[in-house]
């Protein structure tokens, strides 16, 4: 097996080098019949220790880097592994089909669902079509159309969030980016079907929220959810782009931070080293949690689903009286 990682983060380097070394030694053992078991075992021990040290307490900024990792599995990659049936649908019926937003009919286990997700590209070429996962208003309106379909046919909605944000461009503004997002926020507040949101990578502000309101908000372990990018925050606060690490910490954007603040409902573990190191395992982890959440939410009546969601958001906020 020759695994090639196209992109390696600084803090991943020592681990990947060590893995290569172990693989090499194993190769030598096989080819030349030398017994290097002792050396291999000691290297493996070192590898495990290094992995533990690196990934047990990742800094918020390193999680941001993992969440944006070019090799991180994207929405459709995961959806294809998770859903037992899948049919993508297109278009907002007003203007265009937005490549940065995917939506369709799917089956999770035995359960038919409506699926919606932000879609980043895997390559520069694909990103020209996917617009780096930054949707225009037509993306949010396509999502809204599928939400209506879910309501009409009583299908649960599952959304995957992975976007730097809604696209900041002239045409997006002229076609009503703010209105498109706001309309979805309203719609998701009263829909009488279960909505499960999984933030799989970047949860970028209002653009993420536009498909991100649900009965259950889950985050992959290294995903982030933030009101502004650490870069933007550093520029505003310290007028200094190099303070991104501090900004990432101050914004409390990691899954663990947000669970502690009771702003999300659960964390889905990633394989050691991050989702990109074992995409199939990541998909299995997500699927297991989705099945559990769905069977829990399906027991609620349509009215109580809407009420539960409404109440959950009603209680969000932190302030004093007096």
């Amino acid at each position: 097996m020759t695994e090639q990682y196209e992109f390696v983060l600084d803090f991943e380097k020592p681990i990947i080098e060590l893995e290569h070394k172990i693989k090499e030694l194993k190769g030598v053992t096989e080819r030349e019949g030398m017994n290097l078991d002792k050396e291999i075992r000691s290297l493996e021990l070192r590898l495990r220790k290094l992995q533990k040290e690196t990934f047990l307490n990742l800094s918020p900024w390193r999680r941001v880097q993992l969440a944006r990792h070019p090799d991180r599995p994207k929405t459709l990659t995961l959806a294809n592994l998770i859903f037992d049936e899948f049919l993508l649908l297109h278009g907002d019926r007003f203007y265009a089909d937005d490549g940065a937003m995917v939506a369709g009919l799917a089956r999770l286990g035995k359960e038919p669902v409506i699926f919606i997700g932000n879609q980043k590209g895997k390559s520069i070429k694909e990103n020209l079509y996917r617009n780096f996962g930054m949707a225009h208003p037509e993306g949010y309106r396509k999502a809204k159309r599928l939400m209506s379909l879910a309501e009409k046919f009583s299908r649960p909605i599952i959304t995957f969030v992975d976007t730097p944000g809604a696209y900041p461009g002239i045409e997006a503004e002229e076609r009503g980016q703010a209105e498109a997002i706001a309309a979805n926020l309203e719609k998701m507040s009263w829909l009488k079907v279960p909505i499960i949101v999984v933030i799989i990578g970047e949860g970028g502000s209002g653009g993420a929220l536009g498909i991100g309101i649900g009965n259950s908000i889950l985050m992959l372990e290294n995903a982030i959810f933030s009101v502004i990018t650490p870069e933007g925050c550093a520029a505003i606060l310290w007028k200094n782009q190099e303070k991104v690490e501090e900004a990432a910490k101050a914004l409390k954007l990691t899954a663990r931070n947000l669970l502690e603040l009771k702003l999300i409902d659960g964390i889905i573990p990633e394989p050691r080293g991050g989702a990109h190191r074992d995409v199939e395992q990541t998909a299995r982890n997500i699927k297991r949690v989705l099945l559990k959440e769905l069977s829990r939410l399906k027991k609620l009546s349509p009215q109580s689903l809407a009420r539960q969601r409404f109440k959950k958001y009603r209680e969000m906020g932190s302030f004093k009286r007096g």
């Binding site: 002239i170 309101i213 933030s226 702003l263 958001y313 302030f319 007096g322």
Partner: protein, 290 residues
């Protein structure tokens, strides 16, 4: 763009920057005694008393200056009819965000408000309404937990008492960075309340003032049954600077202004400040029973 056009643009770009700097340095010249104000748009020197009498609109070019929340209430509602709600709510610092408390204290001092939103009830043309205002001078009018809670409470009371709702936004920042995802969730919370209010048959008029952007525009501000805007207000989702950085092109002055949103079908009317109160009264009278 052709190569020659690019070259011209490059030269023009230099000229634009320099011109802007000169224009800005001229604007900075302080007018003594606080008796006069120089119009941001046409540079006309206006006697402050005249400016106030003209509801802070330039008598020469019609430029709409910022109007503070208290003054806005005064020119919108019937005299002395306003009763404030939820004044006792105040921000804490849920993320322990560096410098947030200091920022709040400074904003309190500048504006005389205790948060970016003022909400309450009052009468307009003899009719009872619930009114909420966000003030740009308080941390950009951004929506933290207190703003979200005040707006939501107001919408809920309007629903309960079956009274029309008017929200006047001047929220340049949208969501409030210092409150992180708490702030983002105020978009969801206010939107849910607005949705419930409208579905129950309530009338919601949204008035957009300079500037209303980001999370406020992408939640309650752009979902009025009727949406009005003051002339020349900057309205949109992404700020012009962010857009300029992203697309690396010059952005026309008219972009994201009230008049442009009107022509793109995003708002109902652009209304001069002087006409705003009569327009609101007219809308309420035409849509609602006597």
């Amino acid at each position: 763009m052709k190569e020659s056009e690019k070259r011209t643009e490059k030269k023009l770009g230099w000229f634009r920057e320099t011109y802007k700097k000169i224009a800005e340095s001229r604007k900075k010249i302080e007018v003594p005694d606080g008796l006069w104000t120089r119009c941001t748009n046409c540079s006309e020197i206006i006697y402050n008393k005249n400016l106030e009498e003209n509801l802070r609109v330039c008598p020469k070019c019609g430029y709409h200056f910022h109007l503070r929340a208290r003054k806005r209430i005064e020119i919108t509602l019937d005299a002395n009819s306003f009763v404030e709600h939820d004044f006792e709510l105040s921000s804490d610092n849920p993320l322990d965000f560096p410098g947030y408390e200091e920022k709040i204290s400074a904003s309190k001092e500048i504006t005389g408000l205790n948060e970016a939103a003022v909400t309450g009830e009052g009468k307009i043309g003899g009719r009872y309404i619930f009114l909420g205002i966000t003030d740009f001078e308080f941390i950009g009018g951004s929506m933290g937990s207190v703003v979200g809670e005040r707006i939501t409470c107001l919408v809920e009371k309007a629903l309960k008492e079956k009274v029309p709702l008017v929200l006047i936004s001047g929220s340049g920042g949208g969501a409030r960075m210092q409150e992180g995802v708490f702030s983002l969730m105020q978009m969801a919370k206010t939107s849910a309340a607005i949705a419930e209010f409208k579905r129950s048959g309530g009338l919601y008029v949204s008035l957009l003032t300079h500037p209303t952007m980001g999370g406020v525009m992408a939640s309650f501000a752009s979902r009025g049954d009727i949406i009005l805007a003051e002339p020349g207000a900057l309205l949109g989702f992404a700020g012009p600077r962010v857009i300029k950085q992203t697309i690396k092109q010059h952005i026309p002055q008219s972009f994201q202004r009230s008049e442009s949103l009107l022509s793109h079908g995003m708002i109902d009317l652009v209304v001069n400040r002087k006409e705003m109160r009569p327009t609101l009264i007219k809308i309420l009278n035409l849509l609602l029973p006597e």
